[in-house]
C-alpha cells in the first residue's frame, strides 16, 4: 500500500504482470523464429536470386489465354456452388453455436468451455488439410470440399459473432431473465436482434473467403476450379492461369456488390 500526499490507494489487483509477460512472449517468439538453425531460414539473398525467373513468368501472366474460357465455366460454377452451399450450411450451424460460445448468453462455464475448445481446434486446422483428409475419407469430388468449407466457416463465424455478442450490453438480457424467460427465450427475443447485423456481415464476408478457398481445394482433389489450376500449372500455362485469376477477380467483385446490396436489406 502506497501513500501519496495523504491519500491512501487501495491494494492493486493482482495479475498486472500478464500484459508484460504477453509482450515478452511475442518478442521471444519473434527472436526464436529468426535464429539461424532453428528458425524458418528466411534469407533475402535467395529472394533476389529467384527474382529473374519470376519476372519472366509474371510477364506471361499479363497475357491471359481467352480461348481457354469455355473449359473454365463448369469448374468455376462448381466452385461457386461449393462456396454458396458451405456458407449457407456453415452460417446456419454458427448462429446457435455463437450464443452457446458467448459468456453473456451461456453462463454455464462447462458447456461454453467445450464449445470453445472444439471450435479452437476446428479453426487451427487449415481448410486445405481438412479437404485432403476428407478426400481420403469420402472420395474425390465437391462433397469433401463443401465439408471442409463448412468447418472453416463455422470456426470463423462463431468466433467473430460470439465476440460481438459478448460486447453488447447485457441489460436487456437481464430484464428478460428477471421476467422469468428461459435461456432460449431470452436469446431469441433479446440477444438475436443485436447479434443479427454482425452475423449477416460475417456470413457475407465468409462467402467471399469461401470462394477464394474453394478455388484451391481442387489441388487436393476436393472439386472446383482448383483441379484445372493444378493441370495447367503443371504444363507451365501461365496464360491460362491468368485467365482463371481474372475470372476469380470478377466473381469476387460481383459477390462484393451483391453482398453490399444484401447487407442493406438484411441488417
Amino acid at each position: 500500500m502506497s501513500t501519496t500526499a495523504g491519500i491512501v490507494l487501495p491494494p492493486r489487483p493482482s495479475g498486472r504482470w500478464r500484459r508484460w509477460a504477453g509482450a515478452a512472449l511475442v518478442a521471444a517468439i519473434t527472436l526464436v523464429t529468426l535464429l539461424p538453425g532453428i528458425g524458418i531460414g528466411f534469407e533475402l539473398t535467395s529472394l533476389l536470386e529467384n527474382w529473374r525467373n519470376g519476372a519472366e513468368r509474371i510477364g506471361r501472366l499479363l497475357v491471359p489465354d481467352w480461348s481457354f474460357f469455355p473449359r473454365t465455366v463448369r469448374p468455376l460454377l462448381e466452385t461457386l456452388q461449393m462456396a454458396v452451399i458451405a456458407t449457407a450450411v456453415g452460417a446456419g450451424l454458427s448462429l446457435p453455436l455463437s450464443f452457446w460460445a458467448a459468456r453473456t448468453t451461456n453462463p454455464g462455464a462447462v458447456g461454453r468451455g467445450i464449445v470453445r475448445a472444439v471450435l479452437n481446434t476446428v479453426r487451427a486446422v487449415p481448410d486445405l488439410l481438412y479437404a485432403a483428409i476428407l478426400v481420403a475419407m469420402v472420395g474425390v469430388g465437391a462433397l469433401p470440399g463443401i465439408l471442409a468449407l463448412v468447418l472453416f466457416s463455422v470456426g470463423i463465424i462463431v468466433k467473430l459473432v460470439s465476440e460481438a455478442v459478448e460486447a453488447t450490453p447485457t441489460g436487456a438480457l437481464e430484464a428478460g431473465r428477471a421476467a422469468g424467460g428461459s435461456q432460449a427465450q431470452v436469446i431469441h427475443a433479446l440477444a438475436l436482434p443485436d447479434a443479427w447485423p454482425p452475423f449477416v456481415n460475417q456470413t457475407l464476408y465468409m462467402l467471399e473467403l469461401n470462394v477464394r478457398a474453394a478455388a484451391v481445394l481442387g489441388l487436393v482433389g476436393a472439386g472446383g476450379i482448383g483441379l484445372l489450376i493444378d493441370q495447367v500449372r503443371s504444363f507451365y500455362r501461365y496464360d491460362q492461369i491468368a485467365l482463371i485469376i481474372v475470372e476469380l477477380v470478377v466473381i469476387i467483385i460481383v459477390i462484393e456488390a451483391v453482398s453490399g446490396w444484401a447487407r442493406r436489406r438484411l441488417v
Binding site: 430484464a175 421476467a179 422469468g180 424467460g181 427465450q185 427475443a189 436482434p193 443485436d194
Partner: protein, 286 residues
C-alpha cells in the same frame, strides 16, 4: 404526458404478494458484503420506498428478492414461495410474477416496442411460441393494455432505441405490467431522468400500486421523491436496515440519520411544482 390511472385501460391485477426476508446476508464473490442480516416483512399491496447512500445495499436487496443475486445466508419468501432454494424452473415461474424496472431501462434497442413489452409474457408463453413469434391473442392484448396504461400505445411499432429516456422507462414499466405482476421491483427507476419526467414515472408507479393494488418496492436516491411517493420508508446503510417507518412523517432528521450526515441540496430532485418541503398532509398528486 399525463398517463396515470385511466381506468379504461387498466390491466386486471392478480392478487398481490407480500415479501418476507429473514436474516438475509449477501456476500459477493469478491468478499464485499451487500446485505448484512436483513429481516423485513412487506405486506401485500404496500408501497415501499427504499433509500440509502450509494453502496448501502439497495440494489442488492431488490435483486435478491427475485433471485438475480444469490443470497449467502437467510431466507427470502415472495408470496409464500421460497426464492433462495428454488430450482431453475420454479425460479423462472416465480420471476414471472415479479415485475422489475431498471435504472437504465434495459430495453432491446434494435427491436420494436411491442416485442419489448411481450418480453413480459415470456414466463407465461411456451418456448416454441416465442420462437415463432406466435403469441396468444391474450398476451398481445395484455401487452397493448399495459402500453396504453403508460400512454405509450402509439409507439407500438417504433424501435425502442428511437424513444426518449422517459418514454423508454414507461415502455419498461409496460413490460413489467404485461407480466400481470404481484410484486413490482424498481431499482432507481428515475435516476437517469430529468425532474419532470421523473415525477411522471413516479406517478405511474404510485398509480399502479393504488389502482391495481400491486406491491411496489422502489429504490430512490432523492429523499423528496421517497417522501412524496413512498408510503413506507426503509432506510439502508452498509447493508443493514437503519430506518423503517412511515414515509410521510419522515423529516430531514430521519434522512440525516439514514445517511449519517447532513442533508445536501443534491439529495433532492428539483420538483416541477416547487414543493420540495411539501406538507405531508396534502393528497397524492394526480
Amino acid at each position: 404526458m399525463t398517463s396515470g390511472a385511466n381506468g379504461s385501460a387498466a390491466v386486471p391485477a392478480a392478487e398481490p404478494w407480500g415479501i418476507e426476508l429473514k436474516d438475509v446476508t449477501v456476500r459477493y464473490p469478491d468478499g464485499t458484503l451487500g446485505l448484512n442480516g436483513v429481516t423485513l416483512s412487506i405486506a401485500p399491496g404496500e408501497m415501499v420506498a427504499i433509500v440509502g447512500l450509494s453502496g448501502s445495499g439497495k440494489s442488492t436487496l431488490i435483486r435478491a428478492i427475485n433471485g438475480l443475486v444469490p443470497v449467502t445466508a437467510g431466507e427470502i419468501a415472495v408470496g409464500g414461495h421460497r426464492v433462495e432454494d428454488a430450482g431453475a424452473r420454479a425460479l423462472r415461474r416465480l420471476r414471472g410474477e415479479i415485475g422489475m424496472i431498471f435504472q437504465s431501462f434495459n430495453l432491446a434497442g434494435r427491436t420494436s416496442v411491442q416485442n419489448n413489452v411481450l418480453v413480459g409474457r415470456l414466463a407465461h408463453t411456451p418456448a416454441w411460441r416465442t420462437l415463432l413469434g406466435w403469441y396468444r391473442p391474450r398476451d398481445l392484448d395484455l401487452a397493448h393494455r399495459a402500453l396504453a396504461r403508460v400512454g405509450m400505445l402509439e409507439k407500438l411499432y417504433n424501435r425502442a432505441d428511437a424513444l426518449s429516456g422517459g418514454q423508454q422507462q414507461r415502455v419498461a414499466i409496460a413490460r413489467a405490467l404485461a407480466q400481470e405482476p404481484r410484486v413490482l421491483l424498481a431499482d432507481e427507476p428515475v435516476a437517469s431522468l430529468d425532474p419532470p419526467t421523473a415525477h411522471t414515472v413516479m406517478r405511474d408507479l404510485s398509480a399502479i400500486n393504488r389502482d391495481l393494488g400491486i406491491t411496489v418496492l422502489v429504490n430512490l436516491h432523492a429523499l423528496d421523491l421517497a417522501r412524496r411517493y413512498g408510503v413506507r420508508l426503509i432506510g439502508m446503510r452498509a447493508g443493514t436496515v437503519v430506518y423503517d417507518g412511515a414515509a410521510t412523517g419522515a423529516g430531514d432528521d430521519v434522512f440525516e440519520q439514514i445517511y449519517d450526515r447532513p442533508i445536501r441540496a443534491e439529495d433532492r430532485v428539483a420538483s416541477i411544482t416547487g414543493e420540495i418541503g411539501r406538507d405531508a398532509s396534502t393528497g397524492e398528486p394526480e
